[in-house]
Symmetry: D2
Subunit: 349 residues, 4 copies
């Protein structure tokens, strides 16, 4: 059975792999510095964002992107307000601290940074002047760590709050495809996001690329910083065209006139939604509301283990009462048949 | 009226100032590297600690000490477990992050790091291997941010927990004098602390010195690191003898055979205890239990402001309901008469 | 005409690309943490090195590898002795400084770190104790920046010197294939290098991989540090198997029983040697002795520009007298026919 | 005999010590944040500089000042051009690298940064764009490491060069008193220096204070950064008034209407000049031209050792031929009689 472990288990989506093969023998200038593929990918992404004035840069993964962007948008004595479960706070081995910047977590428990909690942290941190780390930006991720999806109104509310406090907005888009193609986006589009965020990234690694994130930068500080920092932090690829080739493929309309990047995300979402409905209809207990390609369930330990063994789904931790929080992830590679097999297996439990 | 704002408002205690004057014209080697005053201070402190095998180093203030010690006791991908109100987490402008290390706060609300909360953080941080910052040490302060004092049994419990998890123990002793001379120490002595902590510091700045902290180091990593890091981080004084002269004076028995360092701390505590009792007897509301030289009260805003204006006491913030948390601090320089004046003023409110 | 600009102009060598295609649909665990391809690549590399006790880790490029390794082999107050033209000193945008470590260049002008110059720097840096950065390791690269190749005796001499001073040895092997297959290696083998270096890397990016360096680690400090640092510095790939798949392909014997990694390097060298001989025989002036896949020539400006326009070769700078230092690079992808075309063009100048 | 080892061997000059004693019992707000002494010192220094628009901040020593200022004037991927013997390059244990910034030494051998060498480094570093550390500032010290003094014309020349390359100018003034009171200043005044430098510091530690440097800041970036960075790097004193009290004393005219700071420097220079003349007249060999409070001589080893034993002068190293470079330093505390004694001793050798 296909594993539902995560969305970076497979290699590349077909059109991405095909592009890598087709361009393999080309000789290109290195370092994403002007090869035709990077240039075309930049243009396609600018068009998709509806902005000509943004820089589009590339990175090899989320941690590299996050640390370079936060570094480039702040000074050493500043920090980023985020939720406690934010990837930068919880899962990046101190990568932000390693650049000297501080992570300033709120107490938001649902993965969404709220204006109220952000305000509380902001007041606390600015109460004694230079004796405390100064908030300079907010970090949010879409989808959130628990698969949540930012709606237009919720996104506008946190942006309004941030702007009213002169804070920059950064959006971690490791799973941006899944987020923006979810019904829960409720009007939040790539164009709107690009219009309001100071920087964000369009995640490729978890949506059909071998690797790669496209960073969209409106912030003047980060525009200056990114080219240097991505090199200084070791994130600049010699064969930079690999990033261009892949994003070019992902954002070039296919024969049906559709953009593969969004098609892959829709597929991941559709599989995840069906998996959710079916498991619920079988009597299993869903955890929270994750209208995206990650689905969380609460199982008795034996059931959780059975799913983990058969479908590679990850056990996130023990909840009060002893049940286990378990995650299923669908990807561009997941098929209807894969979900059918999982459901058939679930019926046997 | 004397200000009760903090314990670093005045200059030096008499014997410290006298020693600075007496030694002013001596020519000494620099950088705390072997001048007779630093050497004698080291010997006096080792004797007070009851350990010959520790290194005694000097620093100019608490933030410098904390960042050098945490840096020297950990690797970049490691961090220090502490309470959320810990000075390193709240009030040092990202100084630990600026060395690349992470601060890992628990949810302890009373200023004391508890084994339960430390265990929760430890489990969380070590759950996914290298993808999260690895706890390597605990950071506690004595007294705590809110004036709490570690008892022998409480201290042993957190040390036991730390050692059972192979974590180092570091004690921020900015107000160690007040802590160890408090009745609430309940058996916790300097010797015991020195026997169990991997490193700690004896705070001079807040107990009668112009400036200076004496760092007692048992940890082999920090023994190697400190001399280099204190220079690299800009904390090494050219006229290093100033630190030796002051600590020598503070730890040399006076004509009554008493150690000035502890005498000053006892005076600060005694003044603070009397202030507390008197204000309570006048009907004011004490906040928490702070058996040390800091006393916290909860006042109506007008009262808080009156105290702030007259006695320089600091308003820490608004509590739910609108009352203000207000702090009085006594020091080596506070006298019985000063407290009398404050109480007399309080009677007029 | 094929560009002779650099050895990372093309995509992947055939067997590497084939392996990526063949494994594309496999579902693998992420992060190089135990997928079968990384494990097999590790085993193949350990065997090639003749050591079972080394860790083999992966990184995406040279700068990432260098900064993680130097970070993990040293403390903050330490540094790496290297030549002034060393990549870490000249071409990595302060990447080592960004980890807080110091680069300690000698005055060696030929790209080879010499015991005499290393000794001079070591004496200077250790002359005043903690007031200066402490040398902890040497950094050498093979080939050197100017295409030089370390012979067995030269390598042993610098290793002997380093060990006699308790310094670790790190070898930047971005072009290790070219170096070890060069006649100038004169007995220096991968096994010998692995036996003496505390850490080194086998460069894939410049020898037929899309990207990737295999880091061979004997140093216990770096063994502990690497897994954390590669994540903290943003260098850990989600689809880590890509590194395993590529190195597995590069080190698996082909149908002729030959290891593609070394075959590609030999091809690059052979093309470069022929190019050198032919250009010299045409009367052009070679610069220095570069017995590897990079060849340096000194041209009149017009000639240099003609080569740059036609063959993409890079102009490194102006020499005294006004001639231009120009570099030709051959790679796994360069063919005899490509060299023929270049020589034919050269005859026209 | 008085040691001629360095200018930080003694405590404080009389008026500085007197001020510390006189103000000891005052209660002041902490952290240099508005106490009357810091405010008066700031005003006196602004007046001496002839600029109202500069910020005046305080630090405890040269390394702390240098690292905070360079940090605050640059980004991570930038660096400071300086001479190879610059304190930041040679004697601060990697303090600049520890902030992530790079030190970019020229080949100037005489301690003075020359426009030609600075230009060479600038061209080299900016030749390949973001792949190399970007120069953003120059660092010079006055006096230089070898006691050199910047003349007006030399200073203007390097400032002109820097400005023409959009580089900031920072002057390390650890011995600024000696430099500006030297005849070799040849018209370079504090006002002129303040008019052209983006930041510089007036060294107190080596000219009569217990410790302390006054940092004069015109650069807007550093104005914003300094208050945060000095705290984050551990350089902020709790009893900040100590810095204000001392600089206030040093810059308040004495009963003869003279500024003690300059008087002390003149005394140190005068003693040094006499020492130089007398030793030369005795046939000893001066090294270079150091028209300031440091004097360098070249002695046979036995002579050098005799001076070191008797007068504490420091042996800097062995010159080709086996003679030893030896330094004598005079300070505010050196008297005519001290020099007489040294010369009398020299006659016996």
């Amino acid at each position: 059975m296909r594993m539902f472990r995560n969305d970076y288990s497979e290699g590349a989506a077909p059109e991405v792999l095909a592009a890598l093969i087709a361009t393999n023998n080309e000789q290109c200038v290195g370092y994403t510095e002007g090869d035709p593929h990077c240039e075309r990918a930049r243009r396609l992404i600018r068009e998709a964002c509806g902005r000509d004035d943004v820089d589009v840069e590339f990175a090899i993964g989320g941690t590299s992107t996050n640390l370079v962007c936060i570094n480039g948008m702040t000074y050493e004595w500043e920090g980023a307000i985020c939720t406690p479960d934010a990837h930068i706070n919880a899962h990046e081995t101190g990568a932000v601290a390693a650049t000297g910047r501080s992570v300033l977590p709120t107490r938001d428990q649902d993965g969404f940074l709220s204006p109220d909690e952000a305000e509380r942290v902001w007041r606390y941190q600015t109460g004694t002047g230079r004796h405390m780390t100064k908030p300079r930006m907010i970090y949010i991720s879409n989808t959130t760590e628990l698969g949540g999806v930012w709606s237009l109104s919720r996104f506008d509310a946190i942006c309004d709050w941030a702007k009213s406090h002169d804070l920059k907005v950064f959006v971690d888009g490791a799973r941006l495809g899944s987020a923006l193609t979810s019904p829960a986006a409720d009007g939040l589009t790539l164009q709107h996001l690009a219009a309001r965020a100071d920087a964000f990234y369009i995640g490729g690694t978890k949506n059909g690329l071998l690797f790669g994130e496209a960073v969209v930068i409106a912030d003047p500080d980060l525009k200056e910083a990114f080219p240097y920092l991505i090199k200084e932090r070791g994130g600049l690829m010699a064969k930079g065209r690999l990033l261009g080739v892949q994003f070019e493929a992902a954002f070039t309309p296919n024969e049906n006139g559709r953009i593969p990047y969004w098609e892959h995300a829709r597929n991941a979402n559709d599989c995840a939604f069906r998996l959710r409905e079916e498991l619920i209809s079988l009597g299993f207990e869903a955890y929270g509301d994750a209208p995206s390609n990650q689905q969380f369930f609460v199982f008795e330990p034996a059931i959780a283990q059975a799913f983990a063994d058969a479908a590679g789904c990850e056990i996130f931790g023990e909840l009060p009462g002893g049940k286990l929080l378990t995650r299923f992830v669908c990807s561009w590679a997941t098929t209807e048949k894969d979900v059918d097999e999982l459901i058939a297996f679930a019926r046997t439990l």
